[in-house]
Symmetry: C2
Subunit: 365 residues, 2 copies
């Protein structure tokens, strides 16, 4: 077993807080003295009920969620939400407004089309190869839209909404899979928020859904039971067996976030981390950010070497790995380099990366 | 932390093999020397690919699955399969044959109805309060049915198919959530088998689907991408981020099963375990099995005290718990007592339970 300190820049599943990993390990085979592991426990037991209730309370506290909203722990990831959202919220004769900032919003739009919805493409990022989100405050939304869909942070292009659009009376649905709880968000501006947990708030296997209660009532009778939000609201996410271990880990991660001081503290650290990494990149004259500076993501820092030197980038990834900095290869759709620096990435990881980047530039510049 | 040996008779999530739990704990924060946990690793990494490929190879080996079948690791449990199966396999104008042996097959039938399918109720267990499955070899199936659905073991009533019906050319779909890999099954007799992992083959969060390849082609274009088997076949269960830790655990459990000698050995032990428990129950004159002896489950042993003495049953559950025998309360739908004795329950657990049962009967008989 290696003693090298490793920093994991994977885009997701991603690094989890070290104290959370150690706690989960410690109680893995004997959960709080019960004699067996929580992973072996019934989802209908008091032991697990305490976990899922604490997880919900943590999420509500961290995000300041009012009683007008339900907090659900589902399965299937954002990809299943791309279908569940229109299945539940589309309205015959009314279009769905989509803001296409690449891959994930595009996939969501595709599912709405499969389900027969009419689309109003409010923002089309493809004209800029998704390198910018433009100015969302300038977008206008037809007020008879069933809902509007955005993806708050794009992991592939490294873009992130700095401000959210004003959709008026149209419910705003946000896929926050890659920046949930990384910054303070006013939940009351949204009709529905969903997020796969595996970047900022837990391991893979659980999908957080925050839904304004009235919206759950739209769902037509023809939608299967498991795909209706109302089913999971009624049974408090225990209609069937959920991914219990994933929810347990989400609870531990959100416990940890509260101990850190909550989302404002975490946001401040995320801002410092991103600022240091972008600054190192910008002043290098060697690395080059790939997207509009105005919408740079604080979660996924995407960059190239020079004008996109693939050989050097390959060398970068492999030498970084040898130095204990892993997961720095860009998404296969765009190539290049990417450092994903979610909540659990410590400042020391950023320092190790910027030090390595400077050395690598010196040796290869 | 208590040093008492605890036996966990939960109906699911359920006991996992001790060596699996200890191995998972050992490598939890530093997976095979990589410097971080597998739960933090990308699902597209070589480390995780090795896991999911080994999991599939293990399942194929343990169940003797031919290349005509695909093996998938999905999310959402059997409850989502209740919808996915008809979404993918129903055919306009052709009925679906259902064999209703209680709760789970009933729920599956309900989803098919929601989706507009016509139902042919081949077996209606409600007339016997689901206390028997009758003789499945005597059932006849209309040969123009789109498919036939059975649930191979009912966790609530403690009934299990001893022989499967002959559906002729009609594809047989089986929900094997509670007895998968507990006994040798000829997969070639089935069109599709699905099973939530959390009873016999892993923790909650992953659903095993075994599907005859030609059946996946039936799915109409109007079904969302995530809900089509063909999507997951094409991407080898990596269309989106799966529940990576659950799949990893399933791999460890199936490794363990292979080390035990595979399904035939496990089946032999399951037969011994069930025989001892039923014998102790039958000879007691105090406990009473709740279902037809001819279709007793080897996984879920359901019984009452006398004619159903609720006070004594409550006492039984609480004293058993104090003695380290947990999870013995019957399902809330039927009450009474239930011992779930899946693959990972050791013979020593059965011995501890039968000893306790005899003592309890002596003290309270």
């Amino acid at each position: 077993m290696s003693n090298q300190v490793v920093y994991n820049f994977n885009a997701g599943p991603a690094v989890l807080p070290k104290p959370v990993m150690l706690k989960a390990q410690e109680e893995f085979v004997n959960y709080r003295g019960c004699g067996y592991g929580l992973v072996e426990e019934s989802h209908r037991s008091p032991l697990f009920e305490e976990v899922i209730q604490a997880a919900e309370a943590n999420v509500r506290k961290l995000m300041g969620i009012s009683d007008d909203y339900e907090v659900l722990f589902l399965q299937g990831g954002a990809s299943l939400q791309f279908a569940m959202v229109p299945m539940n919220l589309m309205v015959p004769g009314r279009k769905i407004a989509f803001c296409d900032t690449g891959e994930w919003s595009h996939k969501a739009m595709k599912e709405a089309k499969i389900l027969g919805a009419g689309i109003d493409l409010v923002y089309d990022g493809s004209t800029s190869n998704f390198s910018t989100i433009g100015d969302p405050t300038s977008w206008t939304f037809q007020q008879d839209a069933a809902y509007a869909h955005i993806c708050s942070n794009n992991t592939i292009y490294g873009t992130e909404y700095q401000t959210y659009p004003d959709t008026g009376a149209v419910p705003l649905v946000a896929d926050m899979s890659s920046d949930i709880m990384s910054r303070v968000v006013d939940v009351s501006r949204f009709g529905l928020i969903f997020a796969g947990a595996q970047k900022n708030i837990g391991p893979a296997g659980v999908t957080l859904v925050i839904i304004r209660r009235d919206l759950a009532e739209r769902c037509p009778e023809t939608v299967p039971t498991m795909l209706r939000y109302s089913t999971h609201i009624k049974s408090k996410s225990l209609f069937n067996t959920p991914s219990t271990f994933s929810i347990y880990m989400l609870r531990l991660v959100t416990d940890w976030m509260l101990e850190q001081g909550g989302v404002p503290t975490v946001q401040k650290l995320n801002e410092i981390k991103a600022a240091r990494l972008y600054a190192a990149m910008d002043r290098s004259g060697f690395y080059r950010g790939t997207c509009d500076v105005a919408c740079r993501s604080k979660m996924n820092v995407c960059f190239r070497i020079g004008a996109g030197d693939e050989d050097l980038e390959k060398k970068f990834v492999s030498e970084a790995k040898a130095a204990g900095l892993i997961g720095l290869k860009g998404h296969r759709a765009v190539g290049g380099l990417r450092a994903s620096i979610y909540n659990a990435m410590p400042l020391a990881g950023i320092e190790a990366l910027t030090t390595f980047m400077a050395e690598f530039a010196r040796r290869n510049g």
